[in-house]
Symmetry: C2
Subunit: 184 residues, 2 copies
DNA sequence: ACTTATGTGGATCGCTGATCCGAATCAGCG
DNA sequence: CGCTGATTCGGATCAGCGATCCACATAAGT
């Protein structure tokens, strides 16, 4: 890649990051290009779709979440590991308003640039879930995709301004439905 | 209202109904106008926003759901009434792909044309919830808005093609979190 | 039948993302 | 250093969206 192209790419990623933080993932691509003092065509050549841009921007975060799952797998009890990782996932999505919808679409669309990252995330969750199920502390009638769906639904709640204040408590409600441990 | 205007209005509602059934609530308003052999301006004069159109289209359904809640209140046990009404709500949204997002936005936006209907729905659910809580069969740490949020989240799941197949089972998972009855 | 209030829809605006292609720029070689 | 060729850039353009304007058509009341 030519030096000027690389510079543009990096600059675009930086600008896109702050634009998305401010306005959510639905921010106008033209706006990003403008703020980066670059033509729209240049943005779209580097990142042919919005998904591609997000993938480049979020891949690090995805990897961190997956790594965190690995760490928790050996450092915490099965149920604590599962719940705290789920909490991390939901909390992370709040930084990228609107990303949940794209991820839900990408998990099944093998063409999407976000597909691989979403599958990785689901697999990480599935491992934690299986471990908790083996320990008898998570209900056994759900699988990794169910978990992904529940996290997505909770993340979506956090994206809705009117419902966001409830998101944290409803996370606990859903978590209690996944776990089978405590008395009640 | 002039007779020709009334005719146009009714025709637009009918066409909008089938268009939305086919393509979801995000269908192009221009498409609806075209299919109704009417100018876009005419559609927008009768229904100044997408919300207004949906309100006119869905008000009947809203009223039916609210009435159904009233009926269940006297005909079923508190927990059966609550769960089966929630199921009805989620099932209903599947007929109008994408309506959940608009409803979540409308519940807090008093300017939205859908606001009143959403508030009515929330109130109907809140009554069923309170009744179940009084009977000791629903957890007491949630309120009507929480219930609305949970239904919205489940409905949103049903709207996502990749997650929809899980929606029914995840409804049961969430329902089990709301109820406190059975042994488990 | 005439007048007036009402309803209509083509045209246009600003916006979105997608695409094309002439112009500018970079990199490597003589 | 200067030329050449491949690469990159971005303004212009296109089709689509909802919103708005206003000259025109038409229904309703006298």
């Amino acid at each position: 890649m030519r030096a000027d192209a690389r510079k543009n790419r990096d600059h675009l990623l930086a600008v896109a990051g702050s634009a998305i933080t401010e306005q959510g993932v639905d921010v106008s691509l033209r706006d990003i290009a403008r703020r980066a003092d670059v033509g729209l065509a240049t943005l779209l050549r580097h990142f042919p779709t919005r998904e591609a841009l997000l993938d480049a921007l979020l891949r690090t975060s995805f990897d961190e979440l997956a790594a965190q799952a690995g760490r928790l797998e050996t450092s915490s009890s099965p149920e604590d590991a599962l719940v705290s990782w789920l909490r991390d996932c939901v909390a992370w999505t709040t930084e990228y308003r609107g990303v949940t919808v794209l991820m839900a679409a990408a998990i099944e669309d093998t063409e999407s640039a976000l597909h691989a990252s979403c599958v990785t995330l689901r697999a990480a969750g599935a491992r934690l879930l299986t471990r908790a199920q083996a320990a008898g502390t998570a209900r056994s009638d759900i699988d990794g995709t169910d978990l992904f769906a529940l996290v997505a639904a909770l993340a979506w709640l956090g994206d809705q301004p009117s419902l966001a204040p409830r998101a944290n408590r409803l996370f606990e409600v859903v978590a209690s439905a996944i776990l089978t441990n405590a008395g009640q």
